[in-house]
């Protein structure tokens, strides 16, 4: 029995929460991540994401259904970031100045592949689902 589950049951036994509230809490605990008790090990994703997927299903009244399926290797993103490192320093300064003049506080020299690696490693948890309308479904995720 996990510590969180025991705490919920103790609160129920003490009358601090109702049965329904305890049930909801236990369901939330079981659905969420359960850290390994006593091991002290940090959770790590099973595998790093390798592809960025975009799946879109659109139903147009005039043109009918449109299906879009795109899979892009994340390695392509890393290679694209490395392209930015090819820009000569004096050109980078001019680009940064122009960006600042337009209100974009971006420094091209700070865009480095190692910074992107950390971002990509966490993309495994990214999922974007657009399902608001019956004729439009968009899903963006990493796999």
């Amino acid at each position: 029995m996990s510590d969180n589950r025991r705490q919920v049951l103790d609160m129920l036994a003490a009358g601090q929460i109702t049965v329904e509230e305890a049930d909801r809490l236990i369901a939330a605990i079981e659905d969420g991540p359960t850290p390994a008790a006593g091991t002290g090990l940090a959770e790590r994703p099973a595998t790093a994401p390798r592809y960025l997927r975009v799946i879109a299903n659109v139903v147009d009244d005039d043109e009918g259904p449109i299906k879009i399926n795109v899979r892009v290797p994340l390695q392509l993103l890393r290679a694209g970031v490395r392209l930015a490192s090819l820009i000569p320093p004096q050109a980078q300064d001019e680009v940064n100045t122009a960006l600042r003049q337009h209100g974009v506080g971006l420094d091209l020299s700070q865009i480095k592949p190692e910074n992107l690696d950390e971002l990509i490693d966490h993309l495994g948890d990214l999922t974007v689902d657009v399902d608001g309308e019956p004729n439009l479904k968009v899903r963006v995720f990493c796999e």
């Binding site: 592809y51 043109e63 009918g64 259904p65 449109i66 299906k67 879009i68 399926n69 795109v70 899979r71 892009v72 290797p73 390695q75 392509l76 890393r78 290679a79 694209g80 490395r82 392209l83 490192s85 090819l86 820009i87 000569p88 004096q90 050109a91």
Partner: protein, 89 residues
């Protein structure tokens, strides 16, 4: 490793046509055919990089990585009237 093959599938937008073109592209042949031209263009590329104050060897390495990263790219768009699929192996 650079991609060696690709597949392009196209279904034309002719309402009365069920024709589907399946075109395997042997990219390794494309690279072999382009290799002499790339070798001839290499000095020009080096001069352009040096004039732009870019490291030509690093530029070549980045372009090579960009090419290698194209593997396993998949794009498909299906429409009632036409569809296209591109898959790079």
């Amino acid at each position: 490793m650079i991609p060696l093959a690709a597949v392009i599938a196209v279904r034309p937008g002719w309402r009365s046509s069920n024709l589907r073109l399946w075109i395997p592209v042997p990219l390794f042949l494309v690279w072999l055919l382009a290799l002499p031209f790339l070798v001839l263009a290499l000095p020009i590329f080096f001069i352009a990089c040096l004039a732009s104050r870019m490291d030509p060897f690093r530029a070549l390495w980045v372009l090579w990585q960009l090419l290698c990263a194209l593997r396993k790219t998949h794009v498909s768009v299906e429409h009632r009237e036409a569809s296209i699929l591109v898959h790079i192996f």
